[in-house]
């Protein structure tokens, strides 16, 4: 996709920190802090839920390493990992990504929420609603193996179908 800002940045290798076949990590173009990293799938996906499981697996593996490097290289006192799905979650770009943000005491980043009170009835209602939809959770899609070129015979000597028919036993 050429009209996606992040596909463009990936193609340009802008501020690349890590790259492999499926995953790209870069310094965030709109940082919340010095050393803010974003980890993205190379294949364009508009939201996190549309990224294939095996790519999500790589995204989190690399996001964890990005978080460790923020501790080790920058001496951060904490990190936040944030994935935003949908506009109401604050997603502003049409390319799924994992934010890894360095945190320090008293950095005053406005990240968090006020916990609310709930009732046992409400929890039970949520449990049954979500559980029903979560039945398929836990089985992961794997990458389709690439066709092996060499084993594909290019020209198969074709037997005459009519003879084959004759040989078939009833």
């Amino acid at each position: 996709m050429t009209d996606c800002l992040f596909c463009g940045l990936i193609a340009k290798k802008a501020n690349v920190l890590y790259e492999d076949e499926r995953v790209f990590a870069m310094l965030a173009p709109e940082p919340a802090a010095i050393g803010h990293i974003v980890v993205l799938p190379k294949q364009h996906a508009p939201i996190f839920e549309s990224v294939p499981d095996f790519v999500v697996s790589d995204l989190f593996r690399i996001a964890n390493k990005a978080s460790i490097s923020i501790f080790e290289a920058l001496g951060a006192q904490g990190t936040n990992l944030i994935v935003q799905s949908g506009e109401s979650a604050g997603q502003r770009h049409n390319h799924a990504m994992v934010h890894v943000i360095p945190r320090f005491e008293n950095d005053n980043l406005p990240i968090g929420w006020n916990p609310s009170q709930t009732t046992p009835d409400q929890l039970a209602k949520m449990e049954s609603a979500i559980k029903e939809e979560a039945k398929s959770v836990g089985s992961f899609e794997k990458e389709k193996p690439k066709p092996i070129e060499q084993e594909k015979p290019k020209e198969v000597p074709r037997e005459d179908l009519r003879i084959k028919q004759l040989r078939r036993r009833p």
């Binding site: 690349v16 890590y18 999500v56 001496g75 951060a76 944030i82 945190r103």
Partner: protein, 206 residues
């Protein structure tokens, strides 16, 4: 270990303390938060006692990611919400309160007053560039890859060899709390702020 027997979240993850579980397998338990940010707020808790994400191996980190994606999908379908936030806090400075790692999966609605969007902050570009180089070297080491080539390549190479010659890091060092002596750490070579944070989380529990 004694730590794990006392840890509330180990007991929630294993089912010893009852909770509303929406998914569970041999590695994780996903339960509803009793003080949610919004209705349907899920805590994805690893069964293994880890305090920080950094203490997870690749397999567990990947597993947590894939399960959180699928649970997020389940929330969108079951609660008909139009957004989901996935959130991790590593360390008290990032908002972590419990001495057991967990990942939050939070259903979102417009104007719900949950602040989980990275704010845009004006950062010093020279400092950000310096951070970039350090991160690239560190991340390359962690992933076993070559670091990307920098514009001034020689400088980057120098830093890799002798990390001590960084005058700027001194002020930061001073600001850090002194490492606790009582907290035993058997990973002596793994020298970073991670150890201090682990100590802090342990101390908070005792």
């Amino acid at each position: 270990m004694a730590d794990e027997q006392q840890c509330i979240f180990c007991n929630i993850a294993s089912g010893k303390i009852p909770a509303k579980s929406v998914y569970s397998d041999d590695k994780v338990n996903a339960v509803l938060d009793i003080n949610p940010a919004s209705d349907g707020h899920i805590l994805l808790i690893p069964k293994k006692h880890v305090m920080l994400m950094a203490q997870m191996d690749d397999e567990l980190a990947s597993h947590m990611g894939m399960i959180s994606k699928q649970l997020s999908h389940s929330l969108i379908r079951s609660l008909k919400v139009d957004g989901v936030s996935i959130f991790v806090a590593n360390g008290p400075a990032a908002g972590q309160r419990a001495p057991h790692f967990m990942l939050h999966i939070i259903p979102r609605k417009k104007a719900d007053e949950i602040a989980l969007a990275p704010p845009a902050v004006k950062v010093d570009s020279a400092l950000n560039t310096a951070a970039y180089k350090k991160l690239a070297v560190s991340l390359a080491k962690l992933t076993g890859k070559e670091p990307p080539s920098f514009d001034d390549k020689s400088k980057g190479e120098e830093k890799k060899d002798e990390k001590k010659s960084e005058p700027k890091s001194e002020s930061k060092q001073d600001a850090k709390p002194a490492p606790k002596q009582d907290g035993k750490s058997d990973k002596g070579s793994f020298k970073s702020s991670l150890d201090e944070i682990t100590d802090f989380l342990m101390g908070g529990k005792k």
